[in-house]
Symmetry: C2
Subunit: 242 residues, 2 copies
DNA sequence: GGTTATCGGATGTAGGACGTCCGATGCTCG
DNA sequence: CGAGCATCGGACGTCCTACATCCGATAACC
């Protein structure tokens, strides 16, 4: 037995300790009333203040970075981050691809959630939509149509269309979540291959959604979005059945 | 210059390299067709295979663990994880609390998203709801009423009510997301204090929601849920205005 | 005065040493 | 012979040291 002196609180699982460490760091940020963009103490300082080695601390810091809590800049310092959902996207993408090998369950669930969000919120968004925002939506549609007639893929334009659809709500969390879903879907899209999708038809579908929004017809807009998602769902199902 | 032999790909930001490393690990899982619960190579093996130090590797592994991609068991090994959104909850909770110091913007956005999901999906859930599931919902209501009349708080019962409301959809992703929102809301709830909420009134509100669901009245159910969330939103706004 | 070289500090990476935990093997004892 | 326990080996957890890399700022230089 070499346990001379102080015995560390050994009766806790390592995982719990690491989570506690993360909480401590976040608590420290809140206590010191740091705002987004404010600098955090250096690794050495934190390491000393929290009573853990730099290595252990760094593992927690990396997690916080992945969660979008802090931002780390090499050779400069660490800061409270504004917002970053990229890591979540990676995690979900992984699960989605993993599930594609079975029945694509998680991928379909993802579509369900997205559908609920979009068709559920389109009405509210239309309520506060400005003329400029409406115009920017049509612009995205036009871009899709151009790309479609050229036979090129238009995933980016598609994503932009949906993003602009809900920009008026001014809800960053929602935009971020939808961004995550898009990222995942895009990756899955690559996985299941281009398939036999009809670009022109898809573009036309978006044109009709825009038309309903422009006309202020909430019911139609919601309905069309639902049909849009049915199509996506069908494509995933078909791809899995190979 | 001591760059003898191979020069590491030095022209990339450290952050990009770390993300690449995470992707490599996930790619490795997909390539080897590992399923949830399957063991990963040991840290040493991975460290060697990917050509990075154990320390760097561990930082990526910890992130993947936080994202719910892998599960790490001390002294045993690492495994592909089933599903885990806890870390996401922590990240969102932090942002929510951070935003409470301003105008509670992010907290309100969170409620908006939750509202869209719940009032948007209640109809679909009612379509596939079994009698047993309906009964379990009433059970949750009863529990809330009991606790309310006893003057005790019933956050857990409240969360359970909402969870059971959407259990029929069989959408794990949705349940997880809602679980995250609850976790965040609960933490924020503690932050803004018990306030002057009327427990009995809240319980009654849930009773009426249940009644609408039991009666198969989708429109009323959705409407009541919306009103429920309006109340939550009001409480957050009031708490911030101090 | 503008540009460049240098410096200090902070994060990034690597490797080693030791502690801690877990499951499995093999032993002892009833 | 079987149940319980001690031991063992492997794997993750933590810490330390050393060095590389990067960034911003200061100071030297033209």
């Amino acid at each position: 037995m070499t346990t001379s002196g102080v015995v560390p609180q050994a009766r806790f699982s390592a995982q719990a300790r690491l989570r506690a460490l993360q909480s401590d760091i976040m608590e420290l940020i809140l206590e010191r009333e740091l705002e987004a963009g404010d600098p955090l103490p250096t690794e050495s300082e934190l390491s000393g203040a929290l009573g853990v080695g730099r290595n252990t601390l760094r593992e927690s810091l990396k997690v916080l970075q992945a969660l979008g809590v802090i931002e780390i800049r090499h050779g400069f310092g660490m800061f409270v981050a504004p917002s970053n959902f990229d890591a979540l996207a990676d995690g979900l993408t992984f699960r989605g691809r993993l599930s594609l090998r079975h029945q694509g369950l998680e991928a379909l669930q993802l579509v369900d959630v997205r559908q609920a969000l979009e068709s559920g919120l389109i009405g509210s968004s239309m309520d506060v939509m400005s003329k400029e925002q409406l115009a920017s939506i049509e612009e995205a549609v036009k871009q899709m149509e151009d790309l479609a007639s050229a036979g090129e893929n238009f995933v980016a334009a598609d994503a932009e269309f949906h993003r602009r659809l809900f920009e008026p709500l001014n809800n960053e969390l929602l935009i971020n979540l939808m961004g995550v879903f898009w990222k995942v879907y895009r990756k899955i899209h690559v996985e299941i291959g281009p398939g036999n999708e009809d670009l022109v038809k898809t573009a036309a579908m978006h044109r009709s959604i825009y038309a309903a929004v422009a006309a202020g017809d909430k019911v139609s807009a919601s309905e069309l979005l639902n049909r849009h998602f049915d199509g996506i769902r069908r494509r995933i199902t078909e791809a899995v059945e190979d």
